[in-house]
Structures are given as C-alpha cells and as structure tokens.
C-alpha cells in the first residue's frame, strides 16, 4: 500500500507538474508569444479567424492556435487551468464564474445581437406545425441548449417568465449546437435554442423561430485568467488591440466575415449567403452587461454579485 501510494503520488505529481496551471505561453526568440484560444465553432467567432488571416495578431507578436469546444462552460475551466490562454464565452457563464470567485479577466468584447426583432442571429425554434407558438407555450416542455446554466437557459427562462409562465417547469437539455437540429426534427426535444449558422439551416427546412432570446444583449466576451494577465501583460494588451481591430474589420467588411466562415464550418453556399451575422462592437456595452446580471439575479442563476471592476476592468 505504501509503495502503491508512493507510485500514485508520483504519478499525480507528474500530472500536476505537467499541467502547471495558469501560465503555459511560449515566447520564441523573435519575441512572438504563442497562445491558444478556446472557441465555439459558430458564426460569432468569425472575427478571430479574420484577424489571424489579416495578420492583426501577428502585428502584435502573437501566434494564435485555435481549439474548439462545445460551450463557454467548458472553455472557462480550460482558461483557468492554462489549457487555453484566451477563451470565448457567453456573458452569463462568465458572470456566473466571476460570482463563484474564479480568477478571470475579460479582455475584449465578443459579439452582440443585431437588435432587429425577427432578424437576429439566435432564436428558439420549433418544428413546423408544432403547437408551441410563443414563449408561454414552452412551460413544461423540453428545450435544447448548447450548455446548461448559460446565457441561453437564462434568456429563455426570462422570456418564459415575462410571458407569464413558470420558467422552472422548462426542462433544459444540453446538446452541442450541431446536434440540436436533428433532435428537434426527431421530436427528441420540443424546441431548441440555436444560433447561426444552424438557425438558417433549420429555417431553410421549415422550422419556425418563436422566441428572439438574444435581442439587446452583449452575448459573449473574450477573456483570460488573472494569472496569465499578471504574468504576460504585453500579450494581453496585444490580444486586446488585435481583437478590437479584428472586430472593427469584421463589422465593416461583412462579406469577408461571411467568406471566412467556410474556413472552420462546413456550410452550404446558400446558407452561408443567407445567415444573419451578429454585431461585433469593439467596446463593451456595460449597461447591457449589467442588465444581463440583473436578469440572472432575478432568475436565481446568480445569487452573489461578481466583482465587475475586477472581471471587466
């Protein structure tokens, strides 16, 4: 047993040593820092790919490797543990993580809704001919979302509450975005929250959007860990500068943003032309973040205020 323990402890020590936590950025001889960014493979993150292509990151002496994950809740631990140096996550998961005391720092805005009702990049959809016609009808139903306890569960619950029904009666089912259309078609779930390009894909086959759940929101943000920010201030300011340039560029060149999608998504050309692009502002809309936080507190998702000054400096 003693020997076994020594072996186990040694194995564990090896593991923890290999992981190290937090740091993990390499700098080459010419001063370029190699960093990994955790993204969800959806339309929202197009500016990152565009920025890499246009050399905005290289100009800041950053070499970016992209890794994809299912949702922000999976990316946040990755950033904290040092697997990724930067990450993309929805605002609700970030606020929740902040309120639980995770050491995170937001470094750039991600994307916002278009604020054009009925023409946004995300919505709750149902099968054609479904008896569910509005948020109120979602009570007691199964709704697919990409991650539990994130911006989508929060905003759908909020819509149900505002429609006068009980949001606690909704059963949320966690499925990756690409699997939600299939689950809706088969009736495995009664409705699903989708973002582009999946929203256009299901609209093409006749599914009906019933709730605009993303309108008026700062949907997502880019962030790093406090530890990495403290150890690599230059890399972080460089990332912020490059990211803002990328966001501005994507906003003013929507056709190029549309074209870059085929670099990381398999899309039918018709879908690629039709899908709704989100807005990519280069400044964080703080009142909108506060609004989301208030919504989360009403919902009970967040019970303790995060330190916003620390989280979003």
């Amino acid at each position: 047993m003693v020997r076994a323990k020594i072996a186990l402890v040694a194995a564990f020590a090896l593991l923890t040593a290999a992981c190290g936590g937090g740091g993990g950025a390499e700098t080459t001889s010419d001063g370029t820092t190699k960093v990994t960014i955790g993204l969800i493979p959806i339309v929202d993150v197009a500016p990152v790919y565009l920025g890499i292509k246009k050399g905005f990151f290289a100009a800041e002496k950053l070499e970016i490797t992209v890794q994809t994950a299912q949702g922000g809740a999976a990316i946040i631990p990755g950033v904290v543990s040092g697997q990724y140096q930067f990450g993309f996550s929805n605002t609700a998961s970030l606020l929740l993580a902040g309120s639980q005391g995770l050491p995170l720092r937001v470094v750039a805005p991600g994307n916002s809704s278009t604020n054009e009702p009925g023409k946004d990049f995300g919505a709750v959809v149902v099968k054609k001919g479904s008896p569910i016609k509005s948020a109120k009808d979602l009570a007691g139903k199964r709704v697919a979302v990409n991650t539990l306890k994130n911006i989508n569960t929060l905003t759908v619950s909020n819509a149900v509450r505002e429609a006068g029904a009980d949001p606690k009666s909704v059963t949320f089912v966690e499925l990756p975005f690409p699997q939600i259309p299939e689950a809706i078609a088969k009736g495995d779930v009664d409705a699903g929250q989708l973002v582009e390009p999946f929203l256009t894909i299901v609209k093409e086959r006749g599914d009906v959007p019933i709730v605009d759940n993303v309108t008026g929101l700062v949907v997502a943000l880019y962030f790093t860990s406090e530890q990495f920010a403290a150890q690599n201030p230059k890399a972080v300011t460089g990332f912020t500068t490059a990211m803002k340039k990328s966001l501005d560029y994507a906003n003013s060149h929507p056709e190029e943003a549309r074209a870059v999608l085929s670099d990381y998504l398999k899309l039918e050309p018709a879908v690629q032309q039709k899908l709704v692009l989100p807005k990519w502002p280069s400044e964080i809309d703080r009142p909108a973040v506060q609004k989301l936080l208030d919504m989360a507190k009403t919902d009970g998702l967040i019970t303790k205020d995060p330190d916003l000054a620390k989280l979003i400096p």
């Binding site: 639980q100 050491p103 059963t171 949320f172 689950a183």
Partner: protein, 255 residues
C-alpha cells in the same frame, strides 16, 4: 474490537487528512471538506432525490436486470455447444471489447438522447457482455470429469443443467455480474451526460457548468457512496447464492 479498530483506522486518518489539507489549501477546486459537508443536505434534498437520483437508479436496475437474464441465458446456450461457441467467439469478442460509451451516440440515432429508452439500452448493452462471456467461460470450465460423472450417474438433462452446469458456472457468473455492476454504474452516469437534463449524472454536470464546486463534490461523494452501497448489496446476494462455494473453500482452508 480489534477488527473494528483496524477497519476504521485508515479511513479515519484519510478523512482527517482530507479535512485538514482542504481547509489549508484554499484552492477553488478543492473546497474545505467542512464546506462540502455543510452544503450536502440542502443540495440533495427530497426534490433532487425523487426527481434525479431515484430515476437514475431505476434505469440502472432495469438495464442491469435485462443484462443479467439475457447474459446468463445466452451464455449457457453458447457455452454448452462447442460449434456455436467457436462461431460466436469473435463476434462476442468484438462487442465485449467495444467501449460501451461509444454506443451512446449510435443508440441516440435510434432512440434520441432525452428519454429513458436510450439510457436503459445503453446500460443493458454495456452490462451484457461481462455477464455473457463469464457465463460462457464458467460453463466451459465446468470440470469435464464432473460432467462425465454426472452423465454416468444418469442425471437427467435438467438436473445436469441445474446442479452441474449452472452451479459449476455460478462463481464465474457472479464474477461477471460484479464487473457488470460497476460498468452499469459508469453507464448510468455517462448516459446522462449526453443530452443532459435530469438524473444524478446530469445534476453533477449542472453543478460543474455553474462552477458550484462544493455542490459538485457532494455529487462525487454521493456517487461514491452509491457505488459502495451497491457493492455491499452485491456482496450480500453473492454470499447468499454462493454460500456452498465459500463454505467449500473455507473447509479446504481449515483442512
């Protein structure tokens, strides 16, 4: 008295170490044990037990029983006939070797993710192979001499089956059933991670998604306790069914 002391000593030391180290560590991922225990009762309240834990256990029980009955019946059939055994072996070998979680995406194609069916099928299919293959092995290794003796004593086929084959194979069947139980618990959890909505595994994922680390730890502890309780239950059933076998070994030991 001494036995009780021996049984309690190491666990007590380990828990004490956990208590002290977690209290001193101040790490986000290793909350103090005192905090974890404090949130345990409110986390696993009646609502969660009825709505999440019991349905998970029910699915485990149904899937496991299907596997047990199916595995023993098929195993005895295959084990008793050399030709059938030779033909079935590579196929069984394949299914036994297939990690059951990869079946989940495939089963979901047919039955979806959210309902009970896909989860029960996953558990049953995962538990089937250890029981089936151990039964085949057990039937195969029933001593040839014993079989011949039974035949020469003119025991009828039914008696031969019950008293010689099934009895002779029962230690192996029990071994298979034990392996299947731990696979069943694993699959009970994993089947809820895909298309997570309700259930014990899904609840733990929710805690992780919400970064509620102490609550997540209570889930891990609950799962651990569940595994322990199931293994104790299994031991009781095993002692009851294999009393003759253990008695035999005991006698040999004393002799």
């Amino acid at each position: 008295m001494r036995r009780v002391l021996l049984a309690v000593a190491l666990p007590a030391v380990l828990i004490a170490v956990w208590w002290v180290v977690s209290a001193l560590a101040g790490s986000f991922f290793w909350p103090p044990l005192s905090t974890v225990l404090a949130v345990f009762p409110e986390t696993w309240n009646a609502d969660r037990i009825v709505g999440d834990v019991l349905p998970s256990l029910a699915r485990l029980a149904i899937g496991y029983l299907i596997a047990l009955v199916g595995g023993v019946v098929l195993g005895v059939a295959i084990g008793s006939f050399r030709t059938l055994r030779a033909m079935a072996e590579p196929v069984l070998e394949f299914f036994r070797a297939l990690p059951p979680p990869v079946l989940i995406p495939v089963i979901a194609l047919f039955a979806g993710y959210t309902g009970w069916t896909s989860k029960i099928v996953t558990i049953a299919l995962g538990c089937l192979w250890p029981i089936l293959l151990n039964t085949v092995d057990g039937v195969r290794s029933v001593d040839e001499v014993l079989r011949d003796t039974a035949r020469s004593y003119r025991l009828g086929p039914v008696d031969r089956f019950l008293h010689v084959v099934l009895r002779g194979a029962s230690p192996r069947i029990v071994t298979g059933a034990r392996q299947a139980l731990s696979i069943g618990v694993i699959l009970m959890v994993i089947s809820e991670l895909f298309g997570a909505n309700r259930g014990l595994g899904a609840t733990i994922v929710q805690f992780q998604r919400g970064f509620e680390v102490p609550e997540m730890w209570t889930g891990i502890i609950l799962l651990g306790l569940l595994g322990v309780v199931l293994s104790v239950l299994f031991r009781l059933v095993e002692n009851w069914t294999l009393a003759w076998y253990h008695g035999q070994r005991q006698a040999e030991r004393k002799g």
